[in-house]
Subunit: 626 residues, 2 copies
């Protein structure tokens, strides 16, 4: 790639012009919007302009071209810089750039999927660092030589999830992943903990196994170009990081290295003062030259083997039921069934946070290692890596204990906005896990996932329903964006259903005759209700689809029964009872039975009895309301 | 402390006996329970026994003695080791130890507050590492010379939050904090990413600023004692870490360094085989000797200056309203009012995740730096540090953007079980923040906090209510355990109330005359409803206390009105509407107006109009149902 250096020297005047335009547009777009992060954009303007017009390659006509390098601004608040770069290469008009942060614009406050070349929404720091790992893995698996470039800030390095990502990048030998740290010394409210200690940061990042490139003056275009040039000669299998020592607000004298300007747009007067300092700026011509050169580059220098999992996109292969799946626990069924699905659907990727012998995804890791990613105990990174994979059209299934998914709630929350589909399984839910005690008991997970836009939640009680629901989740992944959550139980298995049973999104199953009292429940408590039914006839309905709910069924219950009990191994708030009450479909008395005290260690039976969500508790409630 | 070395040599036979007893009890307690983590306990038995009976000092008669060193098992699954140590010093009887993991026992699956010497529940990895930081800060602030010892695993080092904690420990110069890494090479399902690379791990931890002590054979009692001895000579202000290279299952030949035994108790036969390998074990005599020696130590070697914030415990000083607080935004009121409270209540600690110029806690940082902790952008660590502070009787108030509290949901979840009180403020909630876009918009925060046991949630609309509610939260902190959440808005302030208004936990305020249609709302949408009331008379009720709810008020609404609209800047699921519906108090039609589509960047007005939670949307709804 030596010719790039040739280009660089040839281009350096033009690049200087591009830089000036980018700097000017950072100022103009934010002042026009009256909001935005000027200084955080200016600090990284040099290195990112240099990168964007040299090493970074992409097909300007097709954001989905697999040969495209990917650009992720994990410090998403540098959006004025991000959009100014795409303005400079002609993909955004000057008029559109001036709609920055206006309602309905593609040029949002943080780069988002509204702009087609954006990989996904960032703005919650640290997450782009992990999404980049997912995309780099996906590109390698697809045989693309493309790279992922990810810009992050130094304040951002306080987020622990960054170090999860670095570990993961190194473990997966992602030599196609290049991080750029905009090391500008200042955070939102003052000096960062690292200050400007390049030496310490270098040692730290090297100790995670990254190949470190130090860029002592990140606000000098030639030094930036040199570092990017050296990068091309790296032959190590390590992911790389450029530590670019920069100054926040560089390029405008009264912003340069000053505190107190984070996230503030200049008023018109100050903006004009700043623009004057930049001198004359060519607002049009620059990109045209560069665009042409770039297209030449992309034609000649990208050997490429197409292996897009997209090929499976419309042909999801459902697995056929096998008797070996009968009477497995729901978590065993999860691993075993995924293993079969992966066999027929190579775009499925199974991720697990060092729990694969508990979630039974170790079956996949043994039989289909290429479709399994060991994520170690780093749940945040697991979810964002899955987002990265999904953005490049893999179908991720992530698993760990349901309780520990709370560790990644911010990442899951952000996945709402990523315009892709994630499948997430939480095993060992509820108090029924028993001896391990409260730290391992998920009692908030349904609330967590229900509160997300466009989420589906399933809570199967047996092996048959688990397998059939996984099918529903996988099918959605091939069609639309959304977050699918599967709640799994630790307890041993016992099939309620035969393979003929139909399961659907927004479905439920009547498990008994109709009686005056109906118990609406799901998962492990289905068995408690069925036990009670042996003593005292009640209607038991398996509400396996918690979101969306079976509204027709609720109307049916309302017309056929006199009283309803909602029984669940979850806190009341945000759980099945509240979901049902929100529908306003039940016109008869409804009672809630849920976990309403702090649980303890103990046997499953003891703990369920203590919290009164077992058969005895249910019987007591029925006797009371009868 | 040189005499300790003298003691060591004197004690080494006894220590050997203690170690044997600890090893035996790890086996016995787990086999008896039929569950538990044998191998993860055995690996750390040597270093922890050595520590427990030499450097570690505490008053066996009083877990609350401020002179006590603190012992945190962040790898909480090594609970068999933890409890066996306390067994060896006589604080647990042999009989009680055999109730491990039984329902009702103090000897729970993971060490928990049920056992009085336990700092707090662990079991979600990485969190003890941060709680230790909080306790070390608290001890220093209180003038105690005591230390915090924290055991963590190598698998655990995959959790990013560990690195947040290390940063925080170094930033706060916690030379009284000693981490011990049980570097046993094996995780739950196989080899860890670090394998046994002591060199790499040393470099990594040193690069965060920790003083590293390498212990090459952590399963050799003498080497353990030597390392602990050297530790005593450290004069640096750095937090310390011992990297103890160990073998999982060490001490039992068929478990030693073997995969496949994580979290598995031995059956009786294997247990007997293992015990035989240990040879003769004295199950009684050991601790008596050691206990005596320890008491001597604690009497002679702990200079101590008592400055317990406990002194404020029952005398919370509420602040008097000042006109300077009038018409502040709720977030401004938060900072300004806390500043006044801190002045009168020195046990208040204000923590902020590098957002203090947005949450206005920078006022506290300037005026009362001793009561302010800069936590940088590391929300997970912030919450667990707050837990540590609260365990040593400080009253923490944590703040950041509400959206980013989702980053710490696991830590907040675990705080339910920590038997202490946390105050958490989330600013910039909801879509009304506008231009920054969806990544910064908290739309799940009410659901998140509602679903916790014993949580309170407040959502004030103006400065007066914010200040008065902070009083309610602080008062609770001085009395009982719980999690208090305060939802704050970005928008400018406009007082609805005068200082005479009364606010209470589970209260609400009627802001208009009674009409047929009632709008139940809180926070920013109160103003939208009041605007509508100017055009079309409606009842507007400020439901500032979202949990607990004002049930009497709901009954009153039900009797006085014909229809109800619940209006909120939050997703419907888990929010105010569902909270209200769950009460079953409203016997009249109820309509929900909430954020039910993906928001975008834009002005506050544009985004609220788009999601139809503004006055126009409300007017449209009223016209429709009228």
């Amino acid at each position: 790639l030596c010719h790039i250096r040739g280009e660089i020297f040839h281009m350096s005047d033009t690049l200087n012009q591009a830089l000036k335009q980018v700097q000017a547009n950072i100022l103009l777009s934010t002042t026009q919007a009256g909001t935005g992060h000027v200084t955080s954009s200016l600090s990284a303007a040099h290195i990112m302009t240099a990168l964007f017009f040299t090493n970074f390659k992409f097909n300007q006509n097709d954001p989905h071209d697999l040969r495209n390098d990917r650009l992720i601004f994990s410090k998403g608040h540098a959006s004025p810089l991000y959009f100014s770069l795409y303005r400079a290469c002609g993909l955004i008009t000057q008029d559109e750039l001036m709609t920055f942060r206006k309602f309905g614009s593609r040029i949002e406050g943080h780069p988002s999927s509204a702009f087609p070349f954006c990989e996904c929404l960032t703005g919650s720091l640290g997450q782009g660092v992990s999404i980049a790992v997912g995309e780099a893995i996906a590109l390698k698996k697809q045989g693309s030589n493309a790279r992922v470039y990810c810009l992050l800030g130094d304040s951002e390095l306080a987020e622990g999830s960054c170090y999860e990502a670095f570990n993961s990048a190194v473990y997966n030998n992602l030599d196609n992943l290049i991080y750029i740290v905009d090391f500008n010394r200042l955070g939102q409210r003052g000096v960062t903990q690292l200050e400007h200690n390049t030496e310490l940061l270098s040692k730290r990042l090297a100790s995670f196994g990254l190949e470190v490139f130090k860029l002592e003056n990140g606000n000098n275009l030639n030094e930036c170009l040199n570092t990017l040039h050296y990068l091309e000669f790296s032959t190590s299998a390590k992911p790389k990081v450029i530590i670019a020592k920069t100054r926040k607000g560089y390029g405008v004298s009264f912003l340069d290295d000053q505190e107190g300007f984070h996230g503030k747009a200049l008023n018109k007067e100050d903006c004009n003062k700043a623009l004057k300092e930049l001198g004359s700026v060519d607002m049009k011509a620059i990109f045209q030259t560069l665009q042409l050169e770039r297209e030449e580059l992309s034609k000649t220098n990208l050997p490429f083997k197409r292996q897009y999992p997209d090929d499976n996109k419309k042909t999801f292969q459902s697995f056929v039921w096998q008797s070996s799946l009968a009477n497995l626990s729901t978590r065993q069924a999860y691993g075993a069934y995924l293993d079969s699905l992966v066999h027929k659907n190579p775009s499925l990727m199974v991720l697990d946070a060092e729990m694969s012998n508990s979630t039974y995804t170790d079956i996949v890791s043994k039989n289909h290692p290429a479709n399994f990613l060991e994520m170690f105990i780093a749940e945040q990174n697991m979810i964002s890596v899955a987002t990265g994979l999904a953005k490049l059209r893999y179908v991720p299934f992530c698993s760990t204990f349901a309780a520990f998914l709370s560790r990644a709630y911010d990442q899951i929350r952000m996945a709402q906005y990523a315009d892709c589909c994630l499948n997430i399984a939480g095993s060992h839910c509820g108090i029924s896990i028993g001896p391990d005690g409260p730290s391992q008991m998920a009692l908030e997970d349904i609330a967590m996932f229900r509160s997300l836009h466009n989420s589906w939640i399933f809570y199967p009680c047996d092996s048959v329903s688990t397998c059939k629901i996984i099918d529903l989740m996988a099918q959605r992944s091939f069609k639309e964006a959304g977050i699918n959550y599967l709640r799994l139980t630790r307890d041993k298995g016992q099939d309620v259903y035969t393979n003929e049973q139909i399961f659907k999104v927004g479905g439920s199953n009547l498990l008994t005759q109709w009686q005056d009292i109906t118990v609406l429940t799901a998962g492990i408590t289905v068995f408690e209700a069925l036990e009670v039914n042996k003593i005292l006839p009640i209607t038991v309905i398996d509400m396996y689809s918690i979101k969306p709910l079976d509204l027709d069924r609720l109307e049916e219950v309302s017309s056929k029964c006199k009283q309803v009990i909602v029984l669940e191994d979850h806190h009341q708030e945000g759980g099945l009872y509240e979901a049902i009450m929100a529908t306003k479909k039940l016109q008869i008395p409804v009672y809630s039975m849920s976990v309403d005290k702090l649980p303890k260690s103990g046997s499953k039976e003891d703990v369920m009895r203590y919290c009164k969500i077992d058969k005895d508790g249910l019987l007591e409630m029925i006797t009371r309301i009868y």
